[in-house]
Assembly symmetry: C3
């Protein structure tokens, strides 16, 4: 599988996961109708890739040139709407889908950036932005502080996935196995962080402040 | 009238409507001073077109190359500031202006996208983004959930206007009458939706959840 | 010093000030861990310049091509994290740093826009957007109404700095002294506005409305 088709396949998987996540978030936490649900599914699923392409000067973004992105996001949004009662019973599903999208997009974002000539540090950063971008726009539209700010074990796993991807590409061993290792490390670390409520060190000072609005 | 001048005229009308809307929103719901009022007028009026141009790779955006965009937005903002007491008495005016901007920008966004070579589905999507973009940024800056998520009869009318525009262009009958039909359909449907509180189907599950923060 | 290196030096100073500000805001008002603190430092410090470059069609943005931007922002974020107890005791420090970043970026934003061929009014506007952009994204991510809307003496000082810069460039007297005068005027006016609670005229109507959520 060529590097480009690998990016496409991982991108579609990420779009599917994030669209389900966005739709279930819309249903579970905000009282949106079906159009709002599909809209939030699309924004969550396509936001990260659009930001990536804008930063890389790829216009119109891939999302607007390849109809399959829109199709995958719409189908996932409709599935989530149709089966929301069953899906929302699976308690950690929203979190699992978010972690999956984050992991996949961190890999494709970093790989795309390297393919377009960015340096390693910049490619890693762009991977994190691509992974975290859609969820950040989702949270900002719902007037909530985004996960990427609230939990250290959100940006760090994405950083690791992007760094593994960039390292694998520059050592010439990038392919399906390396991409799976990169995405899997991110996914595993993120889910462990959620399960055991791990977080990065907090400044002691902040304990005294109000904490109500953030957690 | 050439396609390009038609886009310009409709764009200016949309900028005027959205700038009045942004300014009155700033005065009516947030306690902003005159600079904040003009700023929100500009962001509401110019946000959608700037997002459209960034996505299409048109940089600097038209707004930064044609001073009349800024002029129209500033004049509308100042008018709204000067006559806010009279204007805010007309209760549905903020909603009417928002619907007008949405309708006009959905048409110009779709027409611009077709002129720059995007496919039909993508052009329709870009019309919706152009129409809903400014109001969405306005609502996010005021820390409110944007209309495009809250009401199904916000994105759907914009989608219809953009689809009529794209269909008219591809059948070679696009012109002032077709543009007015497209914008008028969107405007009429949006206002009917507001008047009769129509919305798209909601997932039954969501009834049990908290509804306070969204409506 | 060439025009380009002057922009670089002022940009780095602005990045440093805004990164300290973003980190201290994260520590002082939101209970973020160290990764969240560094993330908000980066977004505040680099957001304005990225928006400027996207609007000017400079992709990838300078931030992604010159590693020193990332380095300066990261170092400032770590310093703020390490010394947050001492720094947060200096009560107006967050405001002073924000005013410094605003002033420096208004100058570099306007100068960059002129260098890339924008007209004077557009260059001034781009200066304001560059200055206010990072702080606006910071506030939106924390679900707060941005300073640029809340206080007239935020956009106006930036406008003055950008206008002085553009006027100095077009009369051929731009250099370190002119840049310092421009940035200094903005900084001084902003701090006076904060100290004496100056604001631009407010519409009388708005007095009756709720004010709680904005101030």
């Amino acid at each position: 599988m060529s590097g480009e088709s690998l990016i496409l396949v991982l991108d579609f998987l990420g779009v599917f996961a994030f669209a389900l996540n966005g739709a279930l978030t819309a249903i579970g936490t905000a009282r949106l109708d079906i159009v709002g649900v599909i809209t939030l599914a699309m924004i969550t699923a396509l936001g990260g890739g659009i930001v990536r392409d804008l930063l890389l000067g790829v216009t119109p973004p891939l999302t607007f040139r390849d109809w399959r992105y829109l199709a995958v996001a719409t189908v996932a949004g409709l599935l989530a709407f149709a089966f929301n009662r069953q899906l929302l019973k699976v308690v950690p599903l929203i979190t699992v889908l978010d972690a999956a999208g984050l992991s996949l997009f961190a890999v494709t974002g970093a790989a795309t950036a390297v393919a377009l000539g960015l340096g390693p540090a910049q490619a890693v950063l762009l991977g994190v932005i691509t992974g975290a971008g859609g969820g950040t726009i989702r949270d900002m539209m719902l007037a909530q502080v985004p996960s990427v700010l609230r939990s250290g074990l959100y940006a760090i796993p994405a950083l690791i996935a992007a760094a593994i991807t960039v390292a694998a590409i520059s050592s010439g061993i990038y392919g399906i196995p390396a991409a799976l290792v990169a995405a899997g490390s991110c996914f595993g670390l993120r889910m462990l962080g959620v399960r055991f409520k791990w977080h990065a060190p907090r400044p002691p000072q902040s304990r005294r402040r109000q904490r109500g609005d953030l957690e």
